[in-house]
Symmetry: C2
Subunit: 211 residues, 2 copies
């Protein structure tokens, strides 16, 4: 089973690695990282670089596609080769998925039309333009399309996907292997739970970072 | 404030990216990725490669050190240059930290002697040989040394560290920014919670993967 995790410049590295860390343990999984060209790609803020080990053309019929988001998503959405690749591989995937603002890339490719979907909480308003219905859940499965909320939600979505692909025993084994017994020091992980001044601060910070 | 996340071949990528994703949002943080040489390094199973952007010699006085673990940790522990670097930078760090079996690297460098510490649940028995007291918590702070449990625990440890460095408002903002409102589909993330047959399966799988 081939799993393709799309890369592009200024991708959010956690969007990439969270699902990868889960899905790579599915028995028989082979994970590849396609981009428009092979080689090292900077992630957000040009600190950690990830290496694309396939071109888009080299990944023709992946069983699973994972589309991450991040600061570079807006530019990736302007890349006709990426959108064409997403449309083409989606025809034969078993699962087409996104994390965070990767949902907007799926949307731009026409894949979310008529679908229920989720993305990072700050980008929820943008889903409607692609004909999607925004649903404020941790992750949303609609047919073979699965979308996850912001960044860290990719781990939860991937565990749910591993359950569908390989069954609950395998998924629980993966969860135990990565010791995913989350104990965040605060209950501030969604705009509904975080104090209002924190929500305002994050809106300003992320808007500035995206500018 | 310079934050150095150590890289080595066959590191676990989530051990690297989880703390990075949190700590990079601390105001004034500059995150670097040192290794014995600059360039792309394979992570576990040779799929995703991460790029080291500094040599060890180029990172002389980091304020924070993060030591990840993974399948390559055993070989990294045999690398005298890595152990010498850890000992040297630990003299002047504000915080010296590890994720997963990265704690064993800290232990081999002599940094855990007399300390309370945690590591991946499968490696807890190995801490005693380094003079550390194993504590089955999500993360443990002892003086300026912080250790996290397996893989995904690096996110929780990094949020706790961000709180100590920059205060609870900043840490809550980071948590909201990465939408860390975890909702794993199972409650199987620790050996105390997972069904016994799942624990046995994971022991076998991870031992085979490490061999």
């Amino acid at each position: 089973m081939q799993i393709a995790v799309l890369l592009f410049p200024d991708v959010d590295p956690q969007d990439v690695v969270g699902p990868y860390e889960v899905l790579r343990w599915i028995p028989g999984a082979q994970v590849v990282f396609p981009a428009t060209a092979r080689g090292a790609l900077p992630t957000e803020r040009e600190s950690l670089a990830l290496v694309a080990n396939r071109t888009l053309a080299e990944v023709e019929r992946p069983d699973v596609v994972v589309v991450p988001g991040g600061a570079g998503e807006g530019r990736a959405r302007q890349d006709a080769a990426i959108l064409a690749w997403l449309r083409r591989v989606h025809e034969t995937t078993s699962w087409t998925t996104s994390v965070c603002t990767g949902a907007l890339l799926l949307g731009a490719a026409g894949i979310l039309r008529g679908k229920r979907a989720v993305t990072h909480w700050m980008a929820m308003d943008e889903l409607a333009q692609f004909g999607a219905t925004a649903v404020a859940e941790r992750y949303v499965f609609d047919g073979k399309v699965a979308t996850a909320a912001g960044v860290s939600a990719g781990i939860d979505m991937a565990l749910a996907l591993a359950t569908r692909i390989a069954g609950p025993e395998v998924a629980q084994g993966i969860q135990l292997g990565i010791e995913y017994d989350p104990q965040p020091p605060f209950d501030a992980g969604s705009p509904a739970k975080a104090p209002a001044p924190i929500v305002d601060m994050v809106r300003s910070t992320l808007r500035a970072a995206a500018a």
